[in-house]
C-alpha cells in the first residue's frame, strides 16, 4: 500500500521533467526523423507521403568523409579540453577558498561576450596580418605565406577555446569534493606526485571527466559557426545541415543528415558503454570469485 503510494509520488515528482523532455526533446527528435522519409515540397516544407528518395540522394561519398572529419575534430577537441582541464581544475580546487570562486568566475567571464563575436575575434587574430601570425613570424615559427586561418587546425583551436570552460567546470566541481589528503597518503606510501595524480586523483574525479566529455563532445559534433567562420573548405556536418535547412530549404535532406550523424555517433558510443559495463561486471565477478576462493581457503 505505502509502497505503491511511494511509487506514485515518485512518478508525480518526475512528471514535470518527463513532460518537458517529451515535448521539447523526444517529439522534435521523432519529427526530424520522420521528415527524412518525406519528399521536399516546392514551398520549402515537406510533402505528404513517405519516400526513401532523400536517403538515395545523400548516399554520396562526400558525406561520410565530412561526418568522419566532424567526429575526429570533436574527439580531438574533447581530448585536448579534458587534458587541459584536469590540471586546471586541480589547481583551482587546491586554492584557498576565497580565491576559488574568483578564478571560477574568470573562467566563465568570456560568456559575457557573444559567442559569434568571440569567434570573429579569433578570425582577426588568425589573419595573415593578425597579431598571432606576426608573433609567430617574429619568433621564427612562421612566414608570410603561412595560413593559420581557414583550415581544420583553426577549427580545432577555436573549438578548444570555446568549449574549454564546459570541460573545466564539471571537473572542477568534482575536484572540489575530492579529499586531497588522499594524495598525501599516496605520496606517503611511496608514490611520485604524477603517479598519485593519475592513480588517485583521476579516478576520484571520474564522474566530472565523464560529464566534461559529454559537455564538449556533443556540442562539438553539432557546431557550425566555428567551421563556417574559420574553417574554410574544411566544413563540418553542421555546416551541411545548416546549408540544407536555410540555404536550400530542403528539410528532408537536412533531417536525413542529422539522423545519420546522430547514429554514427550513438552507435560507437553505445558499443563503448556496453563494453565498459561488461568490464565492470567482469571485475565484480572476479572480486566475488576471489572472495569465495579466499574464504574457502581460510576455512579449509
Amino acid at each position: 500500500m505505502t509502497d505503491s503510494k511511494k511509487k506514485w509520488q515518485e512518478f508525480f515528482g518526475t512528471l514535470p521533467s518527463l513532460l518537458w523532455l517529451t515535448v521539447f526533446f523526444v517529439i522534435p527528435t521523432f519529427i526530424v526523423l520522420k521528415f527524412a522519409f518525406h519528399a521536399k515540397s516546392p514551398d520549402g516544407g515537406v510533402a505528404p507521403g513517405l519516400t526513401l528518395e532523400t536517403w538515395r540522394t545523400i548516399s554520396n561519398p562526400n558525406y561520410p568523409e565530412i561526418i568522419w572529419r566532424t567526429v575526429w575534430i570533436s574527439a580531438v577537441t574533447t581530448l585536448i579540453c579534458v587534458l587541459l582541464s584536469l590540471p586546471c581544475a586541480y589547481c583551482i580546487a587546491r586554492m584557498q577558498k576565497k580565491w576559488r570562486a574568483f578564478v571560477a568566475g574568470l573562467i566563465m567571464l568570456p560568456f559575457w561576450t557573444s559567442f559569434i563575436v568571440r569567434v570573429f575575434a579569433w578570425r582577426t587574430l588568425l589573419n595573415p596580418e593578425g597579431f598571432l601570425q606576426q608573433v609567430l613570424i617574429w619568433l621564427g615559427f612562421a612566414d608570410q605565406n603561412t595560413m593559420l586561418n581557414y583550415n581544420a587546425g583553426a577549427v580545432l583551436l577555436v573549438s578548444v577555446y570555446s568549449f574549454l570552460p564546459f570541460a573545466i567546470m564539471p571537473i572542477y566541481t568534482a575536484a572540489e569534493k575530492f579529499d586531497f589528503s588522499l594524495l598525501e597518503a599516496a605520496r606517503d606510501l611511496g608514490a611520485r606526485s604524477f603517479f598519485a595524480f593519475r592513480k588517485i586523483f583521476l579516478p576520484g574525479v571520474k564522474r566530472g571527466v565523464i560529464s566534461a566529455i559529454l559537455m564538449v563532445f556533443i556540442p562539438a559534433i553539432g557546431s557550425y559557426v566555428i567551421p563556417d567562420l574559420v574553417g574554410g573548405t574544411d566544413e563540418l556536418i553542421g555546416n551541411k545541415i545548416y546549408q540544407r535547412t536555410f540555404g536550400d530549404r530542403n528539410w528532408p535532406h537536412a533531417s536525413a543528415l542529422a539522423t545519420l550523424t546522430a547514429f554514427s555517433v550513438l552507435i560507437p558510443l553505445g558499443c563503448v558503454a556496453w563494453w565498459m559495463k561488461r568490464q565492470d561486471e567482469k571485475e565484480a565477478r572476479r572480486l566475488a570469485e576471489a572472495t569465495a576462493r579466499r574464504l574457502s581457503g581460510g576455512t579449509a
Binding site: 579529499d179 599516496a186 605520496r187 606517503d188 566475488a288 579466499r294
Partner: protein, 387 residues
Amino acid sequence: MANEFLVFDHVTKRFGALTAVNDVSFSVNKGEFFSLLGPSGCGKTTLLRMLGGFERPDSGRIYLNGKDITDDPPNMRRVHTVFQNYALFPTMTVWDNIAFSLRIAKKPKEEIEEDVDQILEMIRMTDHAWKYPSQLSGGQKQRVAIARALVDRPQVLLLDEPLAALDLKLRQHMLLELDAIHDQVGITFMYVTHDQGEAMSLSDRIAVMNGGKVEQLDKPTQIYEAPRSSFVAAFIGDTNFFDGEIVSTEGDYCTINVYGFAQISAYNDKKLSVGQKVHLSVRPEKIRVTLAPPPPEKGAGINVFQCTVSDIIYQGVYTKYWVKSSDRSISALRPHSRFLLDQESITWNDKAYCWWHPDDGYMVENFSEEDASLIHPSPPAQKPKGE
C-alpha cells in the same frame, strides 16, 4: 649515538608569526613505542608532518638511521603514516589499498600476494579483502590503514591520533590491538595523542609537548610520578600544588611553609636549602581522607591536617573527595579495593583528616599559574539533602 635511530636536532617550524614547533631536539630508539603527548595545538601534528616530509623545518635537521632526511620528499622516506581520517583510497578494495606501496616498489606478484594475505590475517580482515572502504566500519578502516602503512615494513610508523574518531569501547580494544601489533612487527612507532591514558598505556617513552616545546621526555612512570613542570603534573592526571618556601631541612627531608596554608614536610630530592621557593605536587590518590586520625604506625613525620569534606563523587572503582583545610581545597582519591559497605562512610560536611607521607610529594622545577587551571576544578559546593 648507537641507539639514536631517529633524531630531531633543533627543529623549528613557523607558520607566519606562529611558532608551531620551537627548537625541539630529541631522539627515538629503534623499535621503540614513542608517544608525543600534549594538548591540541601544541605542535604534535606539525612535528609528525615534518618527519613524514609534508612540511619542511625552518631550521634544524632530522636524521633517520644515520641519514639526514630533512630535505627528502615524502615518497623517498621509509616512513609511513596512519592518518587520523584513515585516508583509505575509496576507489580501491581493501586488498588493493594494502598492496599500494608494494606495487609502487615493483615487488614480484607472488611476493605482493603473500605479504598482503599475511598482513590481512594479522589484522583479521581476510574475509573483507574485496570490500571497498565505504563498506567498512570505523574499527575496520582503522586496521586497514595500519596494515597499509605497515605492509612494506617502514623504518618508522607514524600514527596521528589514530583512535580519536572511534567510540570508547572500540578505542580500548584498538589500544590492545596496537600494542600487540607493535610487539609483533617490531617497527618503531611514533604515536601522537592528546589522551594521556592512551600514551601512558602504550608507550615505552613519552615526550610531553606544550606550546611547541618538549617539556619532558621520560618513561610513563617517570612522567607521572616525577613531573618536571607544573604543566606535566597537571596535564597528566590530576594533582594538588602547594607552593611555598623551605624553612628547615633535616637529612633527606625538609619542611615547607606553604603560603596561606600550613607547614608540610616533603622529601628533598632536589637538595634544596633553606629559603628556596618550591612547588610541590601531590597526586590525589596519595592523599588519604579518614574520619579518625591516621594510626601511629604510619609514622611520626607524615603530614596530617584537619579538614571538612566539601564534595564527594562516587565512581565505583574509586571515590573522589574535595576537602577544605585552612581555606584550601585539596582533592583526594580513594580506590576501593575492599567491599565498600563494610568501611566507614564519609559524607558531606564531615570533620575529617587528610594525610599523606612526605615521600609522596614531588617538587616540580618549573611552575606557572596557568597550569594550575588545568587541574580538574572542584565542583560547586552542594548542599547535602535533608539539611
